[in-house]
């Protein structure tokens, strides 16, 4: 399915809710977030409204809340992003780098596994239920403000499954073999 800034946030949220339901049922659930830049942002109320007697999503306010909820239920969350330390040598503004460090620390505290890759430019979200890849960073601008384009590959029988499995293999390989664990010094930004 074609994905733009109009529906990317909706698909993100619904994929994560589906993971919460899976893990709540005792099935394996995970999410790979691959994005050079990451920020925490508010999820519009219309997207988090979810009526359920088995999971509690409605109180979620931000993306990190939703990721935290998935981890809380027992899901695994893996993140690959640019290290704030590496970004210091670029022209990117210090405030932007500080925010990247803060969000990564926050995700680390929520028990997400975080790695960095200095050549990272690809962007994707891969869960057990589907994969979204395209031009969008995992930031408020990437999700709501910029003109973005990408594709959603649900993990369902047919052509889509083949593409999904390719994305999953790539994301796993990127996280496990091509990226390095984030250290404390990566997050220590002395501006």
């Amino acid at each position: 399915m074609h994905v733009t800034q109009e529906n990317i946030a909706l698909i993100d949220v619904d994929l994560l809710i589906s993971e919460c339901i899976r893990v709540n049922r005792g099935e394996p659930a995970f999410a790979y977030f691959i994005s050079p830049f990451i920020s925490d942002f508010k999820i519009p109320t219309a997207l988090t409204r979810f009526a359920s007697n088995v999971i509690n999503v409605s109180d979620v306010e931000t993306l990190s809340d939703l990721i935290g909820l998935l981890v809380h239920y027992g899901g695994k969350v893996y993140v690959v992003a640019r290290s704030p330390l590496d970004l210091k040598s670029t022209t990117i503004s210090p405030s932007f780098i500080r925010r990247q460090a803060r969000v990564l620390l926050q995700l680390h505290q929520k028990r997400c596994e975080i790695k960095s890759n200095s050549r990272l430019h690809a962007k994707a979200t891969v869960t057990s239920q589907g994969a979204v890849s395209g031009s969008f960073n995992l930031t408020e601008s990437g999700r709501f403000f910029n003109l973005e384009e990408g594709q959603f590959f649900p993990n369902v029988e047919g052509e889509s499954k083949k593409h999904y499995l390719e994305k999953l293999t790539w994301a796993r390989d990127l996280f496990e073999n091509l990226s390095r664990p984030l250290t404390e010094s990566d997050l220590r930004i002395d501006y």
Partner: protein, 726 residues
């Protein structure tokens, strides 16, 4: 050109003419210019006044009213000749219905009640006094030892006569109709109290305190250091209202409650009909109800919310005609309510209610699915009273209390035999039960959305209008209902452009949305799902919260084995009646076994504290609550109302068709075998993936809900997935 413009033009022309006319004397000229300019000013003001909206006029009028009140107050204070009048003046600054105390040391509120504790006099806010300091209650509010409000002896009739003990208003505040009875409610002017002793001997039979006030004639006393818990039974009556804004709710909640109105000013008559007393004695919790004669109460001016409920007549009839279990349970609830009314009329204390009802169930055979004709036939059969007496004797072994007075029992049963259960009574009862259950849901949702405690709010049910009113339980209001109204019905739509411009991005705190919160309370109760799955289910749900509850129930499988086996033998259709009293306990005489049986049989069918049971906040009190609510009936109604958007076929095209037509679709799948359930869940998840984010009627498909239920009869597990267009 408008009339005023024409007039102004004419005046300006006239002014110019006068200026040019040399024949006009100077004095006349000056007078004319002033008059013209005044006239132009007046025309301008008139034009402005015409443009003022109704709200501004109202505000001006209210301000004028407020100023007039202040002037009256100043005139009154001048007459007093006090050196300082500021304390007297302060309360009139606030705009009604809000109130302000004269000093920091005085209670807030428009009305006060005096509390006379021997040598001390206190003044308390009237609604607080009725909630905390009602006759029979005890409080540490005035230090230790606690103060008890006089009640008098009540044990013989279950009725406390208040007029001879407390100072009540000479004329009733209002009249309240409950069923066929009309109660005159008097305002307490002064409530008398006394300091209690450190030890509190309590009667094991009737829970009377042996404190020189209540002293019953029973000999079975137990000395306790802990006071029993007392809760007032408060009935409410709407006296007047001023309606403000109205909002339409969103689907799916809109199917049940289509609209809500904010009631800016609501006058409610609050009547304390009596109170409930609970104490744990010899390891078991005991409960009694004491009625007041006369009821006491006040008029409260506050703000609230009105909800119009959609309870289709067709559903009520269909449910009662097709579901024999629901029909039998409604007969039982009707019988229970009539029994409690008769007991109150005859003067048989309420602590015998369960014993009598249980005996009635066993003699009539209400454990079985029988209809009202059979019930009435058996109720009026020869030798019925003697059968009831035998049943009471059989069951009495499990109770701590003494045998109820045989003459009074006979009077109660004789009056009950005249009771008629017509078809219309049953329809009305189911309608009332659903509306009352919905009132609990709306009360809970208002509390959650506004971040209030249940004690901050109250409710009343307008059966004749099919309406539930939730209001702030304090004179002048506390903002709870207004806050809930504010968070009611957001559009629920999403577009990136609208999101850019919305203030939502900047909001620091986002409370829960009312529609969604209320709808979650309407979903199947997780406790009930686990209970049903444990006792009658053919497949175990895998959802962690249900699994956790199932594991707790499995822990009881050893200790309560005999009880559980017995309940399974009785079957799901008998679950409500067998949980009442001990008539269904036919395998042991040991009280411990009886309590275990009762504990295991009390599963969530018609409501539990995890769903719609609110205990002492219920307007019939926690003791009679279970005979006046039904989560089961409410669930059935919600399913009925969602019928038009519920799809059993797991087809994306079918769902998209429903979404296009209604903007909402609920997919339901059932299974009764573990592997089938796994396959079903997988297929449902695939549907989610195939649909989310797709464009439909100018919006996008959102995965908007997921719930699980267990069918009590078939034991099958049902999964529901909800989609909405946002």
């Amino acid at each position: 050109m408008s009339m005023t413009q024409e007039l102004k033009a004419f005046l300006n022309n006239l002014k110019a003419k006068v200026r040019q006319d040399r024949n006009v004397p100077d004095k006349t000229y000056d007078a004319l210019v002033i008059a013209i300019s005044n006239l132009v000013d007046a025309v301008d003001k008139m034009e402005k006044a015409k443009q003022m909206d109704e709200a501004s006029v109202k505000t001006l009028y209210e301000n004028a009213q407020s100023l007039s009140l202040m002037l009256d107050e100043i005139k009154r204070i001048r007459g007093m000749g006090y050196p300082s009048y500021i304390d007297e003046f302060v309360p009139c600054i606030t705009k009604p219905p809000f109130t302000m105390p004269r000093t920091l040391y005085e209670p807030q509120g428009a009305q006060q009640i005096s509390i006379n504790i021997g040598d001390q006099m206190r003044a308390e806010r009237a609604e607080l006094a009725l909630a905390l300091l009602f006759p029979g209650s005890a409080t540490y509010r005035y230090g230790s030892p606690p103060v008890k409000v006089f009640l008098g002896r009540w044990f013989q009739s279950g009725r406390a006569r208040l007029s001879s003990i407390h100072e009540l208003s000479t004329k009733p505040e209002f009249e309240l109709r409950v069923g066929d009875r009309v109660f005159r409610v008097y305002k307490p002017l002064t409530l008398r109290g006394f300091r209690m002793q450190a030890q509190h001997p309590i009667c094991v039979s009737c829970l009377s305190l042996s404190d020189g006030d209540e002293n019953c004639g029973h000999s079975s006393l137990q000395v306790r250091a802990k006071l029993p818990s007392n809760y007032p039974i408060i009935r409410k009556l709407e006296l007047s209202r001023t309606e403000a804004d109205r909002k339409t709710l969103q689907k799916p909640m809109a199917f049940v409650v289509p609209e809500a109105t904010f009631l800016k000013e609501l006058e409610v008559g609050m009547a304390v009909m009596g109170f409930e007393r609970t104490a744990t004695l010899r390891g078991a919790s005991r409960n009694v109800t004491v009625d007041y004669d006369p009821p006491i109460g006040i008029r409260l001016v506050t703000s609230g919310l009105s909800f119009k409920a959609n309870i289709p007549e067709e559903f009520v009839k269909k449910a009662l005609d097709s579901d024999l279990m629901l029909r039998r349970d409604m007969i039982l609830q009707l019988l229970s309510n009539r029994l409690s009314d008769i007991m109150s009329e005859v003067g048989l204390p309420s602590y015998h209610h369960e014993l009598l009802l249980s005996s009635l169930i066993s003699v009539i055979g209400l454990d079985d699915l029988i209809e009202e004709k059979m019930v009435l036939q058996r109720l009026r059969s020869e030798g019925f009273i003697s059968s009831i007496n035998s049943a009471i004797d059989r069951e009495l072994a499990f109770y701590e209390s003494a045998r109820p007075d045989a003459t009074l029992v006979e009077s109660v049963i004789t009056l009950l035999q005249a009771f008629d259960i017509a078809e219309d009574n049953l329809y009305l009862k189911l309608y009332q039960t659903i509306l009352h259950s919905l009132a609990h849901v709306l009360l809970l949702a208002t509390a959650v959305t506004s971040g209030s405690q249940l004690d901050d709010l109250d409710y009343l049910v307008r059966e004749e209008r099919g309406e539930v009113v939730i209001f702030d339980a304090v004179s002048g209001g506390n903002g709870s209902s207004e806050t809930a109204f504010e968070f009611l019905s957001e559009t629920g739509k999403f577009s990136v452009e609208a999101y850019w411009q919305s203030e939502e991005r900047e909001e620091i705190y986002r409370p829960r949305n009312f529609d969604e919160t209320a709808f979650e309370f309407l979903l199947p109760c997780v406790n009930g799902v686990a209970d049903s799955a444990f006792l009658f289910g053919r497949v175990s749900p895998l959802e962690s919260e249900i699994k956790r509850k199932l594991s707790e129930l499995n822990d009881k499988a050893t200790t309560h084995r005999t009880a559980i086996t017995k309940i399974k033998e009785y079957g799901s259709s008998k679950i409500f009646p067998i949980g009442i009293g001990y008539h269904a306990m036919n395998y042991s005489n040991r009280p411990q076994d009886a309590d275990r049986f009762k504990e295991a049989a009390n599963i969530c069918l018609h409501g539990c504290p995890e769903c719609i049971s609110i205990g002492r906040k219920c307007h019939v009190g926690s003791f009679y609550e279970k005979y006046n609510i039904s989560k089961f009936a409410l669930d059935e109604m919600v399913n009925y109302l969602l019928q038009g958007v519920t799809i059993s076929k797991l087809s994306p095209n079918e769902i998209l068709r429903t979404l296009t037509e209604h903007g909402i679709a609920v997919v339901k799948g059932s299974c009764n075998e573990q592997q089938a359930c796994k396959d079903l869940v997988k297929n449902l998840s695939t549907l989610v993936l195939e649909l989310v984010g797709r464009e439909v009627i100018g919006g996008r498909v959102k995965f908007a809900g997921h719930w699980v239920n267990t069918d009590l009869t078939s034991g099958a597990l049902s999964y529901y997935y909800m989609f909405k267009v946002i």
